[in-house]
């Protein structure tokens, strides 16, 4: 998608999963990665079932690899 963040309008009561499905449909290359993503809303880990509220910041987090280089 070539950007690290974007703003989207979604229908009321959209879930994190609903948003992810929309992104996968807009950016098909995400499809292969989708099942490996962790999700966070407003910088807190959560589940795909969470319902979004106005102004929420949603992060889809690929497998992390911080810490030591081993």
């Amino acid at each position: 998608m070539g950007q690290s963040q974007l703003e989207l309008e979604v229908a009321e009561a959209t879930s994190v999963d609903g948003l992810l499905q929309r992104l996968v449909s807009d950016y098909p290359r995400l499809g292969g990665l989708a099942r490996f993503l962790m999700v966070a809303v407003n910088t807190e880990y959560t589940t795909l079932e969470q319902t979004l509220q106005p102004g929420d910041e949603v992060a889809f987090i690929p497998p992390v690899s911080g810490g030591c280089h081993v």
């Binding site: 690899s65 911080g66 081993v70």
Partner: protein, 153 residues
């Protein structure tokens, strides 16, 4: 105590922030950029982070430590941007009255950072580059789930 920064990391500075007169043990861990990785010669690494969340998750890991051991002084600094061979990517400091808890908690923090803190590493070699995926892809969702179960959310 919990910081994502592009600046070089100084373990002594983090120790100075944490260690009190009550402490008899200080466990300091440094992650250092190594030249060989998965059979290749690494030119340099690039770390990227979702910084506001990373710092928050680091603090939550310190809370997990406090729930498991009688250890209250934990610090984690992680560097982002380009890192050369031999440079320090992460510093973890744990200060406590006794050594056993300091060792155990320090190891726990290092393992948890690798599993759940939103930081990513790209290896750059002479002939290419690749983002490094976590230890077990399938385990990652689980790590997130256990983060939630542990009261991280």
């Amino acid at each position: 105590m919990f910081k994502i920064t592009t600046e070089a990391l100084d373990p002594r500075a983090l120790e100075a922030l944490l260690v009190t007169q009550e402490d008899g043990a200080v466990a300091t861990f440094q992650g250092v950029v190594r030249i060989h990785s998965r059979g290749k010669v690494v030119s340099y690494l690039e770390y990227d982070a979702y910084a506001p969340m990373a710092e928050k998750v680091m603090a939550q890991i310190a809370q997990e430590v406090a729930d498991r051991w009688d250890v209250r002084r934990v610090g984690v600094w992680h560097r982002t941007g380009r890192l050369e061979i031999g440079e320090t990517s992460m510093v973890v400091v744990v200060a406590s009255p006794h050594r056993k808890e300091a060792f155990e908690a320090c190891r726990y923090v290092v393992d948890r950072v690798k599993a759940i803190v939103p930081i990513w590493k790209k290896e750059v070699w002479e002939d290419g580059e690749s983002w490094v995926e976590g230890e077990t892809l399938a385990g990652q969702r689980q790590a997130g789930a256990s983060a939630k179960d542990a009261g991280l959310s």
